[in-house]
């Protein structure tokens, strides 16, 4: 059983009269990539800032690796590496100089600096000024900064913002490596759902300051597959499905058919449709996605 390294208990926070966070509780365990989802303005960044004491919570308790982040601030912060909002570095200094500044405070040597530079693949450009870096490089340098002292908890606020697909993949690989190999708990906030899907082991959905859903994302192969089938003659296809396989099908807005069947039945169904002259345009497996979790849970779903 993995240890809980980040624990939030009944956190509340108001800005003026507006309640931003309402009785929020969650736990993050070692080696886990924990997604923190929510629409804009739902309180993701506020929560992260409260964990880091950039903002003080009105009530509730935050424990990092067992240390209360108010009473034992310095000890708690020693366990945390974090990037909030943007990876902000001194633009007039080189990446290496920025790392060195941090290394002094974290009391680590040149060897560790080289290690993290290798990890984020920035070694050959470390001596350039940060002002000349691309956003992706800045993100990676930011990550290097937070990893210097081997934190137990890594907190990232919107780490994929502004990254290109290659950059996102690189970031994802790095995060997976440190979480699953080194046992670091990674707490990632984002509103990009597909990204979370690929990355996280567990997600919490937050809306209007409330945690509305916490769900594990199972990566195991399921026996039941959801298929989205695009065909020319919809009625005929539905009829065949109903008669031959006794499957209830739904029609989407775009006139595609959505069916839920066992995985081994898929080739048979497709073959049967083809034999009966149903012109199949495409067959797409529809995964049980985070998107559904998200829209089910948040107001965004209700409005639609």
């Amino acid at each position: 059983m993995a240890n809980t390294v980040l624990e939030l208990k009944n956190i509340s926070k108001s800005f003026g009269k507006k309640k931003v966070i309402n009785n929020l509780s969650l736990e993050v365990k070692e080696g886990e990539i924990y997604g923190f989802l929510g629409p804009n303005g739902s309180g993701k960044t506020t929560t992260i800032k409260m964990i880091l004491r950039l903002i003080d919570n009105d009530s509730g308790e935050i424990k990092v690796n067992g240390y209360d982040n108010k009473k034992q601030f310095e000890k708690a912060m020693e366990c945390i590496g974090a990037i909030v909002e943007n990876p902000d570095m001194y633009r007039y200094m080189s990446g290496l100089d920025n790392l060195k500044l941090h290394a002094k405070i974290r009391n680590v040597g040149m060897q560790r600096i080289n290690e993290v530079l290798d990890l984020v693949e920035l070694k050959d450009r470390a001596k350039e000024k940060v002002g000349k870096y691309s956003l992706g490089m800045k993100q990676r340098l930011g990550l290097a900064l937070t990893l210097l002292h081997k934190p137990k908890v890594l907190i990232l606020d919107e780490p994929t913002n502004g990254l290109d697909p290659a950059g996102i993949k690189k970031l994802r690989d790095i995060l997976k490596e440190i979480a699953h190999k080194e046992g670091v708990a990674v707490f990632v906030s984002s509103h990009i759902l597909t990204e979370m899907q690929l990355m996280c082991d567990k997600v919490a959905v937050i809306d209007n300051g409330n945690v509305v859903k916490i769900e594990e994302i199972t990566k195991t192969e399921s026996t039941i597959e959801k298929l989205e089938i695009a065909v020319k003659n919809v009625e005929k296809a539905i009829k065949i499905l109903k008669e031959k396989f006794n499957i209830e099908s739904k029609i989407e807005e775009n006139k595609n058919i959505v069916v839920t069947i066992e995985v081994e039945k898929v080739p048979v169904v497709v073959k049967e449709l083809a034999i009966n002259d149903v012109e199949i345009k495409s067959v797409i497996p529809k995964e049980h996605t985070i998107e559904e979790i998200f829209f089910d849970a948040t107001e965004g779903g209700k409005n639609e």
Binding site: R53, I55, V84, R91
Partner: protein, 479 residues
Amino acid sequence: MSKIFILFMNENTKTWKKFSTKLVIIIAILALFGALGLAKVVEYINSRYDSTFTTDNFKESTELEMKNLKETLEDPQISESEKEINKIQIEMCELELKYDASRYDESYWKGEILSRISELKILKEDEAQIANLISIIEQDDYSKYMDIKKQEEKQKLENEEITKEEYEDNIFILDLKAQNNIGKNKNEGYWRNALISQIQLCKRSLRAGIDYNSAQQKLLSSERRQELEDTIKINVYRLQNDIPPVDYAEENYRMFFETLAQMFTIAVIAIFAIMLAGGAISNEISTGTIKFWALTPNKRWKILTAKILSILYYLVVITLIISILTIVTANIFFNNNGIEYLYVKDGNVEKIGNVLYTIETYFAKLIPIVLFVLFALMLSTITRNTAAAVSFGIATYMGNGIVMTIINNYIKKDWIRFVPFNNLNIVEKIFPNIENPMQIMGESFATDTSLWFSLAVLGVCAILMLVTMYDSFNNRDIV
């Protein structure tokens, strides 16, 4: 403590890596050389056109005067009584040419005698006295003239024209003149006479108990009384040892350079420090780099302390560099001594050498700047707006002198001395007997408080600002 030290070292690295830091050091050095250039240009101009007033060329004007006067004698429109006076003037002109002294130049003793003779002639006093005076000139006997003057003072005392104290003071000054041969030689520098008249003014102030030196002529405080007595002692020392004061050292371009260099570079350093302080917190918040530090296991007060220490450290380092550079430059380009500051300790006049004095004044000037730095830092922490903090800080630094002079003119209450801006003239209080032209210009009327009083007011002010900024930085959210 070690954590603060690491943060402090980091702050220094950051400051040093900034382009603006290097720029400011370059500008400060340029200002230094600007002052050098200015001093050299003035030296050159003055060596070409002898601008100092001398009496060597009085003969020309005397001859011209004589010619004009002679023409008036033949003019029928002029009355007889006027002609009478003109005749006396002609006689005086002849005497001037004969004895090679202008009667308008009373700093030279023969000139003084001639001026007295002309007075006596116009008043038609007895010829014997005039003859006596002329004989003194002919004998070229300076000390005899001094004796005569002393006797006259005694006469005045007996006639009860002057009081006993006044008599003693006058005799003191006459003795001083006689001992140091002041006015014995022509064109020996006006500073000696200026010092003498300053002594006279001080003596007069001390006698009356009223400060004639200041524009308001206030009653003398005990500190001011002490200061005047010290001034007299120092002036006597200067006369005896032939050390001209700063503001009369017209030929001493090294002093000119040193004063100028200090004015220029201190302004540059002050503005730099205020800029650094004004952006210290707000810049980091606006660029987000404050998180760089706030996310490390360091409490916020440590971060702020490191910042303050770093700015002060830079202030001290740059000032030290500049003050040493000033001395070195002065030594290379000028071959005489610079300012040697005189002060009174236990009733004796002591001297601070030029090197020490230069460094000391630079650092004394740093004390008020530290206050403005804290002020800018406080604004930066509270407003979180670099533009506001820097502009307001610099405006206060530049404008406080003028504004306070105006305010002090209108508010004549005792509490005005508690206003911190009235206590910024630390340098004048540490070195009370230097009369720097700039200090006279910026003289405020509420300055006669002691050094410790000023330091206490500034200290309280600094503590208040520190408390405010720590409170704000520790407890406000970094959003």
